[in-house]
Amino acid sequence: MQLNLQAKPGKVAAPSLVHRESFWHKVSKSRVLLLMCFPAILFFFLFSYLPMPGAYIAFTKFNYNKGIFGSPFIGWKNFQFLFGNGQLLLLLRNTVFYNLVFILLGNFLQVLLAILLNEVQSKWFKKTAQSMMFLPYFISDVLVSLLVYNLINYDYGFVSNMVRTAGGVMPKYYSMPGAWPFIIVLVNLWKGTGYGTVIYFAAITGIDTSMLEAARVDGANGFQRIRYILLPCLKPTVVIMLLFAMGGIVKGNFGLFYNLVGNNSLLFNTTDIIETYVYRALMNNFNFSQGSAVGLFQSVVGFAIVMIANGVVKRIEPEYSLF
């Protein structure tokens, strides 16, 4: 599908050159490209790599006066509260489950909407619909939870009133843990779809139109065009998005969950993720080291998962891998 030529990296000289020279040779040949990457390299060095040794704080009993590296080392003690309470499995299950659904369902919906919108002729409809779909992204999680409460609370909710006037019985959603996976997924989709659709819409717009024209002239109908041209063109983007999301599979969206569920422990079984649990545990017992320990745990797990996933993708289709 790609029209790229498979250019070989770097070396033009004869293979008899010494190894060391060929490295510098590579550098000098691609010096402009290197320079173009330099601002990004510097940025990440300054803001992401330099702080990394500070992760040591997860293994200390942090003393404000002595600083991170002067504080006493206590090994795995900061991790105990997370591992030793029997809840970790439940939390991991919830965190991963929600993330998987968000990623898979979310991306599916976004791709679907991008393709559909592309088919539509009316520019007005496209523009207006996309702008409207974008709006939920701007509403902060606190307001979202307020809106949801106003809709479905049993006594005075908007939906409850309508159901009662129609003669029905309103379920007590805030006491039903089983309903919340659906509610949270719906809210997350509602909030994030507009934003994500843009990604795929941009990819579609970038597709070489002469290809699409040729297809039309050849008599391909809508479905065929989608299946044989649009979808394959979107595949790299989808794979990249999925792969990237894998890295954050054990990191939850604290704002969303905490605001929707709050302190309603009836729902914790199906809605508690690692972040909300940690927040409650450390709420009146503030502790930097323990918070860092959890973050470290999530990073390590995410890293392992991504390495595996990227390895798999590299074997199947090297072009689609992240690195």
């Binding site: 770097g10 717009t205 302190n263 930097f288 890293f303």
Partner: protein
């Protein structure tokens, strides 16, 4: 070299499949779009309601009793609001332009197959999205080593780019035909020249998308503002101003602080709504503006011709 629009409806027959797809789209997307706008509408409507009405009837699509009290309250000291707007807009513009430039440069370089270091650098960048040292080391670095406490740079710099945006950009640039670079090389242009004169004009949708995401990131940001902009800073970004208002209530009710402090002057519901409306305001208009850049850039045909 003119940009081409998608289809030529008058020339090609619209068949049944197309009609079906289109019909489905109108219904499906239409419903979804309406579902998106109603809650937003409710927020705006509630901001114009009296507090008492909200307490009695909750949120409605139209205020049962109209009042602009919350807006009056906010506009009584407009300096804060205006300052917040100015700070946010300036930061968004500067951050987005600089960030977009760097990201597109990097994205282009990383997808060049003849760039021997691309995998290494890609991994270097991507790794930072997996591992974070946490808040304390980062804060320490920013405040004590870089000296950025109470400085707007502490908010602007960290948001300039992210691994996700760079990878996304790299992905978009990959779809641009390699011929363009090749033809540039044949003409003897250097890599940067190729990038600037040939590639950039072809990647308008990508630039628009990444630019939009960057701008949104700046507009919605409150976290770094909360951490780094202390009392010596007069004007703080919009979202942070809104969050402070809302969080005062939450903070005082959820901690043991609630047991000690007297909970007076908590912001009312309508005040929260009014602040939310004002804090979102103009950015909604950005997207339609950006929309028009979602057209195909240079096509292969144009280059070949």
């Amino acid at each position: 070299m003119e940009p081409k629009m998608n289809f030529h409806p008058t020339k090609v027959k619209i068949d049944g499949a197309d009609r079906l797809i289109r019909g489905f789209t109108y219904v499906f997307v239409g419903i979804f779009a309406v579902m998106c706008i109603i809650p937003f509408w409710m927020i705006i409507a509630s901001s114009f309601s009296t507090e008492a009405a909200i307490r009695r009837t909750g949120f409605t699509l139209w205020p049962t009793s109209f009042s602009t009290y919350s807006y009056d309250l906010i506009f009584r000291s407009p300096a804060q609001l205006i300052g917040a707007y100015v700070v946010t807009v300036v930061m968004t513009i500067i951050g987005t332009s600089v960030g977009l430039f760097i990201i597109s440069m990097t994205g282009y370089a990383l997808q060049r197959k003849d760039f021997p270091f691309r995998n290494g650098i890609s991994f270097y960048i991507y790794f930072t999205s997996l591992f974070s040292a946490g808040l304390v080391p980062f804060y320490y670095l920013m405040v004590k080593v870089y000296g950025l406490k109470d400085s707007y740079w502490a908010v602007l710099l960290p948001l300039l780019m992210s691994p996700w945006l760079i990878i996304l950009m790299k992905n978009y640039v990959k779809a641009i035909p390699h011929e363009i670079t090749e033809s540039g090389k044949i003409d003897g242009a250097g890599d940067f020249r190729i990038f600037w004169s040939l590639i950039v004009p072809s990647m308008t949708p990508a630039l628009a998308t990444i630019g939009l995401f960057l701008a949104l990131g700046y507009w919605n940001e409150w976290y770094y503002s909360s951490l780094f902009l202390g009392s010596q800073v007069t004007y703080r970004p919009l979202q942070y101003w809104l969050y402070n208002l809302i969080n005062k209530v939450a903070a005082l009710k959820n901690s043991l602080a609630a047991t000690q402090l007297v909970l007076d002057d908590l912001p009312s519901e309508t005040l929260k709504m009014a602040t939310a409306t004002l804090a979102t305001g103009p950015i909604i208009l950005l997207y339609p503006f950006v929309q028009k850049y979602f057209v195909a850039g240079l096509t292969v045909g144009a280059v070949k011709g």
